[in-house]
Symmetry: C2
Subunit: 176 residues, 2 copies
């Protein structure tokens, strides 16, 4: 399923009086951009935040909560070999999730989140709180892909909430 190109938000300025969800909604509406998400450690919290606003169906197509690695492959097309070579918590897998979501939902903007919310699961070089957020944006001039490694403090709930906040912030910046 090919996703369509997307012109971006142009010269829309940030407005501190809006929540990140509201600001993102404004930018997606202005750009006729539609969003799809792929979440692992946040487990649906980003989708839940996006759909908390009435009318979000104008710009939010849906999401996949790919909690098991098998779901990342079956539902989003993330290659098993990529998960094996890079690890499930990596820039490459986050990007593959973002692109998988964008393509499978036919959206212009895709987000992928994969990380270690804790309390278990931390490892050498990837402690609890390590979260990769990747964005994939279809533009007429060619796709834009970015990935961001967050190191978030706190317990499981705090890591998950901060990851959602940061993903929203990164999306708003992408569409600036």
């Amino acid at each position: 399923m090919a996703s369509q190109s997307f012109s971006g938000g142009g010269d829309i300025l940030a407005d501190g009086s809006r929540s990140p969800v509201e600001e993102l909604a404004r930018r997606l509406r202005a750009s006729h951009g539609r969003l799809a998400v792929a979440e692992s450690c946040t487990g649906g919290m980003l989708s839940a935040a996006l759909t908390s606003a009435a009318g979000s169906s104008d710009y939010f197509l849906g999401g996949v909560v790919a909690y098991h690695n098998s779901a990342k492959t079956a539902l989003l097309g993330v290659p098993e070999s990529l998960i094996a070579s890079e690890g499930a918590v990596s820039a490459a897998v986050a990007l593959s999730m973002a692109e998988g979501a964008r393509e499978r939902f036919g959206a212009e903007v895709g987000v992928g989140i994969t990380g270690i919310a804790g309390p278990g699961g931390g490892m050498l070089g990837k402690p609890v709180g390590t979260v990769w957020v990747a964005l994939s944006l279809a533009r007429i001039s060619g796709p834009v892909r970015t990935s961001h490694c967050l190191n978030l403090p706190g317990d499981r709930r705090q890591v998950r909430e901060a990851a959602v906040e940061q993903a929203l912030r990164l999306l708003v910046e992408l569409l600036a």
Copy 2:
């Protein structure tokens, strides 16, 4: 992708001291059952609730937030003709979502939620607060399918939260 059969929770008793998420986790663990969900109006909130507990990857495979009808078809295999004939908010579509989630994730238990959270979207016979929750359980003796129509009071947030609570309660009952 065929899902495996599942023996159910047998004689495990409800324990009022546990939250519905904890009780469901206990029953799924005891039965070696794995869960997949498909959400429309709750927009990821059920998945987020299920993954709030550490260790939820033992029994939660993942979910699809099928916010647009196109996502219900593309990601979950809900027939377009079914949505057209029954409406997106119907027992038949909720069941198709539950079975789609169960099959696509290879789970033993599937849940589908579709409803009208408001403030808009209400119609004759389907006012705001109408939510269908469907469950699909693969048992050795054959699949068990149930659907439940909820009429939930309150605003968008209250309808969504109550739908998640009721879905968890129905899942606990199913695995009794």
